[in-house]
Symmetry: C2
Subunit: 212 residues, 2 copies
């Protein structure tokens, strides 16, 4: 397979989501034109993006939904299971633990960790909430691959550093900070307040435009 | 002020976050070199980005942290209060309601809405959880500006359409779907599973690279 550009990669999860909807509706084939209308992207963009996979689409036939879904899933690393734990069992951590879609896609959330004694020992969505003191041994003993950080920024950095020392190489970071981690570590950030600021920027831009 | 490019706009919330940290630490001035080291962005990129605001930075003096923070805040629409309600009072909705940073930045989360009778009438972080049946009257009577949608995809689209009919023009959408809304409506999406797929893509890319 040719090297796929970063821009295309960044669009693949969205294709994957639409293909998943089509599968669920038992739709077997889809044309670039139909996808274009569903996704509000030009058909030529879709053809260009999906051509990267080579030979999926056929003129007058369209794309095979299941095949394209599987291939994109493989490329996104969803064909192998991923063990994940969540550090911070507050509302956000529990929201992620309860999000059923992750389980369907091979994510195994085996435990949450918190320092709150009222939470420790309880369960959320089949995963136990454990004492954060046990975190480091747990990730070593259970071959955990991904750690989701859903806790305040102050402890997040320190905990992330300790986890790196325990062999963790991938973080899904919701803490309101950029983790400063040296070495070959993957960090995917979800900064909710930054997303909200993009929204207010667009609101204020529109207001100024209307006033002009 | 000149028209600022979309790329710069998309970086402003991150500048704003770092400037906020500096303010909190009572730091009054910062050079592009210092910001560059903190943010892991080149100093020339920082100068280019911040030059858009005109005359903030002075050679050998650096940027005035508070002034730059305020100006970027204005541009992001954070100098005026924003009334927001949350539809879906599950873990994710409650996580957002409890997120203190939003309050500091002028977001007034006045109510959450849910259909679950066990939640209706309870409070989370000073905001009451109300019956979703009351949502439409509430947004009209209380000049709500932004609606956060933290509920499953099936009801999200229908509810969003009804809210548009009630005059809502801005959505912060966490539902696992793209809202198909016609008209001049602003939608900012947070698709958590897409973010997680970007992470697994990078994991699998690294694994393939190491195997080569």
């Amino acid at each position: 397979m040719n090297k796929i550009s970063k821009a295309v990669i960044s669009r693949l999860p969205r294709y994957y989501r639409y293909l998943d909807e089509l599968r669920t509706q038992k739709i077997e084939r889809v044309s670039s034109k139909e996808l274009s209308e569903m996704m509000n992207v030009t058909a030529s963009q879709i053809r260009q993006d999906l051509n990267n996979f080579g030979g999926f689409g056929q003129q007058g036939y369209g794309y095979n939904v299941q095949y394209l879904y599987d291939e994109i899933g493989k490329l996104l690393g969803l064909d192998t299971p991923h063990k994940m734990v969540i550090v911070g069992a507050g509302n956000l951590g529990q929201a992620i633990a309860n999000y059923g879609n992750f389980k369907n896609r091979g994510f195994q959330i085996t435990a949450l960790f918190d320092k709150n004694p009222n939470l420790i020992g309880t369960k959320t969505s089949d995963a136990e909430i454990m004492d954060i003191e046990c975190l480091y041994d747990y990730v070593k003993e259970n071959q955990v691959e991904i750690v989701a950080l859903t806790l305040p920024k102050e402890p997040a950095r320190e905990i992330a550093e300790k986890l790196v020392a325990c062999g963790i190489k991938a973080f899904w970071n919701f803490a309101h900070t950029d983790l400063k981690i040296s070495g070959d570590i993957i960090v995917e950030n979800v900064h909710l307040s930054e997303s909200l600021m993009k929204l207010t920027y667009r609101i204020s831009e529109k207001r100024n435009h209307n006033e002009e």
